[in-house]
């Protein structure tokens, strides 16, 4: 799920406007004005350079005759490239993308919304476990899920089809299809809908529903007239979010749609970039279209959510009404169980089985009974191989550094935005949020061109990945740190200043220690995002700087080494689970 977590599921509204800081000491006007540029200037330069240059190159390439190359940035502008949009294959890809995104969103909303409803508002049995089921697929990166489903549902050798044949049924499951892509996307994005709708439904003031009951509304009418309309912002909000995420998802489409000859916008961009000769200008042009869609949807989402602020939350004794499902109880449990099966259990089993299967071919599950058919020593081999440690080491090195630098940068930016009156604060915030609107496949291309051209010799080293991750995850870092700065009362820091500390001292002495826990959880969030990122490094890695996500993707894509790939995926899932579990623990400590 390399591109999945790039927008945190909640909080799609822009952060509240920072309040002007009361200046504790009276400063002469002039000095203040200089000070106001001194703090924001360098940060603006740094963030602007990191973010705007790659994006700028993509835009430039879309409007010029050749792609940016070292020593040759072409400013010969043209609109010629836009002809490519009339190319039937681009039209087709656009149509496919929109259709897949619509259907997957609908399906994800149905799954997530239903699970949210039964866990938040019904007396369904095993509620806590079903809640966990709703979240669990978040731990599985979407491309690992896609690869696992490729193992399960390929029409010839897929495990499910083998099982069906064993059972004497001649139905065939084919995930290399439109339906397959839609289903897998929906399965792995459903948790976003689940999270947002669940929180809306459990925070609703129960009086609002009781009022409907008292005034003559039956349970069904209450649900229809009050409960669901009140959850509508969350339903639409998560729907738009999922639509955007599916639209720009590259890995799942690449694994499942490409073999079936179905192009989406991201896979099309990838294909023309990787063609020989690379058609960079065409890729950039199509990329602009993709960015356009995303921007349009993001602004729609903001506009919609800003208009509706239903205050449904109250502090008074909350006891949400629970609907008695009656006889529908067990079908609901079965539904949740079925989702658990296809989103978590089957994929993990498929990976485990593939890792342990000695012969790559299996015509029946009876083959597994043969002596020596299963051998899990591959895990031992991997965990003791130098190659694995090289790759895992790279992953950890890149992710830890990117997360640490990302948190530090986010703190600096968030501090300037929230706590100072520096000039250009709004601009700084705006630029930092730009990567949110740029699909990873596009950012990857922009970063590639940028670091090929820069006279700083980063390309080809592991550092280029660190810088790339820093850019990609800037919005998430900023949001998370901004939220915790806003939750830390500014008076605490100001009082240290009034007691005679310099501002820098006050920050290190008061603000940073107070934010220790929340900064740690921001760090872990960025770490997790970096660990699962696939699309952006795909453009930037070299054989020496492979990371885990790339290695797994490569092994599967090039075939042959399915056993290692599956084993590595399992190990990777374990690492991901640990990394994603930690922030939750930290997050919970705050309350």
């Amino acid at each position: 799920m390399s591109v999945t977590l790039d927008r945190p599921p909640v909080n799609n509204a822009p952060p509240p406007a920072p309040k002007p800081a009361p200046n504790p000491t009276v400063t002469p006007r002039r000095r203040m004005r200089i000070g106001r540029v001194v703090v924001s200037g360098p940060l603006l330069l740094l963030v602007g350079f990191l973010v705007l240059v790659p994006v700028g190159f993509v835009v430039l390439a879309a409007f010029s005759t050749s792609v940016p190359r070292p020593g040759n940035i072409d400013f010969a502008l043209t609109l010629e490239n836009f002809r490519t949009l009339a190319d039937p294959s681009v039209m087709k890809a656009t149509g496919n993308s929109l259709l897949i995104a619509s259907l997957a969103t609908l399906l994800a909303l149905i799954i997530g919304g239903f699970l949210a409803f039964i866990t938040a508002r019904s007396n369904v049995p095993f509620r806590a476990f079903i809640y966990a089921i709703g979240l669990m697929p978040l731990f599985l990166p979407s491309y690992v899920g896609a690869l696992a489903w490729a193992i399960l549902g390929s029409p010839s050798a897929g495990l499910l089809n083998v099982a069906l044949r064993d059972l004497g049924l001649d139905a065939v499951v084919d995930v290399y299809s439109f339906g397959g892509v839609v289903t897998v996307m929906a399965i792995f994005y459903a948790p976003y809908a689940f999270l947002m709708i669940h929180s809306a439904m459990s925070m609703m003031n129960p009086d609002l529903e009781d009022a409907a009951g008292v005034h003559g509304g039956s349970m069904a009418q209450t649900l229809k007239n009050v409960t669901f309309p009140l959850a509508l912002p969350a339903i639409l909000g998560s729907g738009l979010l999922i639509f955007i995420l599916v639209l720009e998802n590259f890995p799942v489409a690449q694994v499942l749609a490409t073999p079936a000859g179905i192009d989406t916008l991201p896979t099309y961009i990838y294909r023309v970039m990787m063609a020989t000769p690379a058609r960079g200008n065409d890729a950039a042009t199509v990329a602009i279209v993709l960015v356009g869609f995303v921007l349009l949807l993001t602004s729609l989402q903001r506009r919609y959510l800003a208009k509706r602020s239903y205050t449904t939350v109250t502090g008074k004794g909350m006891k949400a009404r629970r609907v008695d499902l009656g006889r529908a109880k067990w079908p609901a449990v079965v539904f949740a169980g079925g989702y658990f099966l296809i989103a978590v259990v089957l994929p993990l089993l498929a990976l485990l089985l593939t890792a342990g299967r000695v012969s790559p071919y299996m015509s029946s599950f009876r083959d597994l009974a043969a002596p020596g058919a299963l051998d899990f020593s591959v895990f031992g081999e991997i965990l003791s191989s130098a190659a694995f440690f090289g790759v895992a080491g790279n992953s950890i090195f890149v992710s830890v550094l990117a997360a640490a630098l990302g948190t530090a940068l986010a703190f600096a930016v968030a501090y300037v935005i929230n706590r100072t009156r520096a000039r250009g604060r709004a601009l700084l915030e705006g630029i930092s949020m730009v990567p949110l609107a740029v699909p990873h496949i596009v950012l990857g291309i922009g970063l590639l061109w940028t670091w090929l051209i820069m006279p700083i010799p980063l390309y080809g080293t592991i550092w280029v990945l660190v810088v790339a991750f820093l850019v990609v995850q800037m919005p998430q870092g900023l949001r998370s740190v901004s939220a915790s700065i806003q939750a830390t009362h500014r008076d605490l820091e100001d009082s240290a200043v009034m007691l005679g500390a310099r501002r820098a001292k006050a920050i290190t002495f008061v603000t940073l220690p107070l934010m220790k826990v929340t900064l740690a959880s921001s760090f872990l969030l960025l770490l997790m995002l970096s660990m699962r990122e696939l699309t952006v490094p795909l453009f930037l890695y070299t054989t020496d700087t492979k990371i885990l996500s790339i290695e797994i993707f490569d092994l599967f894509e090039n075939g042959g080494a399915a056993q290692e790939a599956a084993a590595m995926s399992v190990v990777y899932c374990v690492i991901m689970f640990i990394v994603s579990y930690l922030p939750q623990r930290f997050g919970n400590q705050k309350h």
């Binding site: 003031n205 409907a212 003559g216």
Partner: protein, 371 residues
Amino acid sequence: MEVHIEDLRLAYNGVPAIRDLSLTIGDGESIVLLGQSGCGKTSTMRCVAGLEEPTGGSIRIGERTVFDAVANVNVPSHKRNVGMVFQSYAVWPHKTVLENVIFPLRMKKVGRRQARADGLKTLELVGLGHLADRGASLLSGGQMQRGALARSMAMKPSVLMLDEPLSNLDARLRDDLRVELRRIQVEQGLTSLYVTHDQQEALALADRIAIMRDGIIAQLGTPQQIYSTPASAAIASFLGVTNVFPVTSTHSANRVTLIEHPLELAVDEPIEYPESSACIRPDDIDVRPRETRIGERNRFAGEVTVAVFQGASIRYQVKLTNGPVIDAICPQNAHGVLAVGSSVDVSIDPSSIMVLPNEVPEVRVSERVAA
């Protein structure tokens, strides 16, 4: 319609919140439930509305039994035709004011056009006609309260219940709306049950007041009755009688002695219950500069410790020699404001001393049962 509650009991997870509550609200009558926080007022209403399932007892609205634990009757909330104004108003923020108000009509299958006309009429009644098409989340606190009231009135409820509907409003608005509520209630002849813990509100809105303590009704009566003859010291003190002193009897039936101080009081009524207190309204206590005249009943020497000028009156706290601190409110008169530290005489007319049991006997009994 008449509402008849009998032996109502309710427990949350085994902890009793209502114990054996019986109450009859006459047709068109307004009863105010008055009581401290947590005594079970909201719970009682929720039982009548059908939002909680009582553990025992029965509830009848008009001729219809809506709940009976023994006969196993429990009419669901939406079929009881009971109106309720929630403390949080619970006006649906995703609908317009009018949509809120016509909801109960639509639920009764009233046609769209007819519902709209009726809804508008009800909104006019509460003075919200001009805001009918406004989004309900845009209303102010006072407007929301009226909206909630209109929504409940539109359904022509058999009984209207209001749970501290004024508690979220500021003091002035509260005064205005209190008067208006009473007007609407009387004009429409609404049978209503009103919850508050503000005694001013209770006195203004009630035909009868039911004082609730610990899940039962401790006293039921007209506002005048309750005010002039509270049933217990606890009720008296809740109603603003600030001088409450535990007493025991003496050799004489007309004298009692304070338990905590070596002081005797002349009273008109003798002690009836073993645990009783002398309760004296601060307005019934006279404070004047020390004189030499002696011999009057209930005249004590003391020293002013606090004097607060309140406009028309002055509030004193006087420490009696060898006695308690006593709270007095005296009209502005010839004495002017007596300075803190000045020696004064305090006199109390024996007829204004109420000797009351500390708790209503039933409350004590049921406590013993519970223990």
